[in-house]
């Protein structure tokens, strides 16, 4: 995970070639000293594209997790703490959003909002909101009536102050766990969207698009075009899943998903 972050940050240094430069004379070169992981159908260096693609995948993954986590956390906190009518109004909306298959909702949103980096981030973050909100709400409910919250109320603290200073810190642990767990899913969904042609638009190199339908046609001639980008996705998601598992065990041993 750390390695990927570093790679993404220093993509310009780690990459050996320009990721978008095409070279018609050198298409489908097998992996070798010049092109470490070979070249694709336009003669672009696969290794450099993967290195630069790490930026897009991680940026989308982290941005969606943070956005979805923050919005979901806020909604869940408000819903759980305020209770009553607010809770009753919010819950059905979350139920409805959660009814959609994640990829279908993301697909339709990406199509409706038009292709751009921001669209992809929003399209993946929105389906996360109800999932995170549910966890935040449950955590809030469990401590809303704790003695120390009552004490704060007795001391005349305002509702906003109680929610932010006393409840939020106790809800943060499950929130972090949930958000990290979403990170891997976010990267996978981004890859799927790009694979289907509705993800991050050109010229950004994206792992999903490197595997898009056109790449599948070349798979027999040049398997490296297909193998390495997919391996990159799997390794990063594997790492973020491990991170999520580790954080869960560390922060909240009771939560088991």
């Amino acid at each position: 995970m750390l390695l990927t972050l570093l790679t993404a940050a220093a993509a310009g240094l780690v990459a050996t070639q320009d990721p978008v430069r095409t070279d018609a004379a050198h298409t489908f070169l097998p992996p070798g000293p010049q092109h470490w992981l070979g070249t694709d159908h336009l003669g672009r260096d696969v290794y450099s594209r993967i290195v630069h693609g790490a930026r897009v995948s991680l940026a989308v993954g982290i941005a969606t997790s943070l956005l979805g986590g923050a919005c979901g956390g806020a909604v869940g906190l408000a819903s759980g703490y305020a209770g009553g009518a607010v809770d009753l109004a919010i819950q059905p909306i979350l139920d409805i959003m959660q009814g959609f298959p994640l990829l279908v909702l993301a697909l339709v949103m990406a199509a409706a909002l038009g292709p751009s980096l921001l669209t992809v981030i929003v399209a993946i973050a929105v389906p996360f909101v109800p999932r995170v909100a549910r966890v935040a709400r449950a955590a809030t409910l469990s401590i809303r009536d704790a003695a120390y919250v009552e004490a704060a109320r007795g001391l005349g603290a305002s509702r906003a102050r109680i929610a932010l200073r006393h409840i939020l810190p106790n809800v943060v642990a499950p929130l972090i766990v949930m958000t990290t767990a979403q990170l891997g899913t976010a990267i996978l969904v981004e890859a799927s969207l790009s694979f289907l042609g509705l993800g991050v638009p050109e010229p950004y190199p994206s792992w999903g698009r490197m595997l898009s339908v056109s790449a599948a046609e070349f798979a027999q001639r040049a398997p490296w075009v297909v193998i390495f980008p997919g391996l990159a996705i799997s390794v990063v998601v594997f790492a973020s899943n491990l991170l999520g598992d580790g954080l869960r065990d560390f922060l909240d041993p009771r939560l088991r998903i």
Partner: protein, 316 residues
């Protein structure tokens, strides 16, 4: 029991109504005029034709009227017209349903068939090499994109076995063996992720149950290990697994979308992607609603199953 089902059914209808509003609003967020987009992709040029379609789609009427009309059509089983094909959408969707259902059922079978036993074994042999191996395999399943796994499978089949999966749909009536072979590998690709999830859920659920008193009693009575694990522990560990299965069903549909694309299977899920790419919005709207109905019904089924499995749940 009957009251529970009726209440749950009413809730499902309400949820579906809400989902229809969301779909409707989402597709009206699309930048630009739907008719213009249809014109671009379908190649209509005649302005009179444009007027006719605008009127046909009720785009010259208030949004509320459009919505009511859409729901009325849906209730009557009318899924609208595909402007890409110039055919009623239902005619295009209907032959595709068996493909997606078969793939979905097979993928689910793969998921349960691989996930459940491996999860039980993993829990029964906790902290052994077998347990660690299975956990790594299942974590890998959660990390691999389904479409990449599909590509790898095709690659291996062609390179190692010299067998090229048929690029065209093989009807079961024409060639049953070829048909099953064609569906087996996509089902593996789509089901692996769910298998991994079921494995993890089964493992943690079994571990919890195996620590309970009655299981210890079972051991102390001298029951054979298999009877304790499968007959006594698994039965109680199944409940959370059924719940996960319900939520995972929605995720499986996502897997079907990409798998049908990779393996070139003419299913409903791939048609959704095609309709989105062609901007055939009337079809997209109806197809997403169709998927929503399937998901809500399957959740309903899981809830009822859950209440049946666990006598502790009251039907209120």
């Amino acid at each position: 029991m009957r009251r529970f089902i009726v209440r749950r059914l009413a809730l499902a209808v309400l949820t579906l109504a809400g989902m229809s509003v969301v779909i409707f609003v989402l597709l009206r967020l699309a930048p630009g005029n739907i008719v213009d987009l249809l014109f671009q992709s379908a190649g209509y040029v005649d302005p009179a034709e444009k007027q006719r379609i605008t009127h046909e789609l009720l785009l010259d009427r208030p949004v509320a009227v459009q919505y009511v009309q859409w729901v009325r059509q849906l209730a009557g089983g009318d899924l609208g017209t595909s402007y890409r094909y110039g055919l009623p959408a239902w005619q295009i969707i209907r032959p595709r349903i068996p493909v997606t259902v078969e793939l979905g059922v097979l993928a689910l079978a793969v998921a349960i068939g691989l996930g459940l036993p491996s999860g039980v074994v993993s829990a029964a042999r906790q902290h052994t090499a077998l347990d660690y191996g299975l956990r790594i395999v299942s974590l890998a399943g959660l990390s691999m994109p389904a479409f990449w796994l599909g590509m790898l499978i095709i690659l291996v089949l062609v390179r190692v076995f010299g067998w090229i999966p048929p690029m065209l749909y093989v009807a079961p009536q024409a060639d049953l063996r070829g048909h099953l072979l064609q569906f087996l590998f996509p089902a593996l690709a789509a089901g692996y992720r769910s298998a991994a999830l079921i494995n993890r859920m089964t493992r943690s659920s079994m571990l919890e149950v195996l620590r309970e008193d009655y299981v210890r009693t079972g051991w102390a009575k001298g029951l054979p290990g298999r009877a304790v694990v499968y007959r006594h522990a698994l039965r109680n560990a199944l409940l959370p697994i059924v719940t996960v299965l319900g939520t995972e069903f929605a995720f499986l549909i996502g897997g079907l979308i990409v798998t049908e694309t990779v393996f070139n299977l003419p299913g409903v899920a791939r048609y959704l992607v095609e309709a989105i790419l062609w901007r055939d919005y009337p079809v997209v709207q109806n197809l997403v609603m169709f998927i929503a109905i399937v998901v809500v019904l399957s959740n309903l089924a899981v809830d009822i199953l859950y209440a049946r499995l666990d006598p502790r749940i009251r039907y209120t």
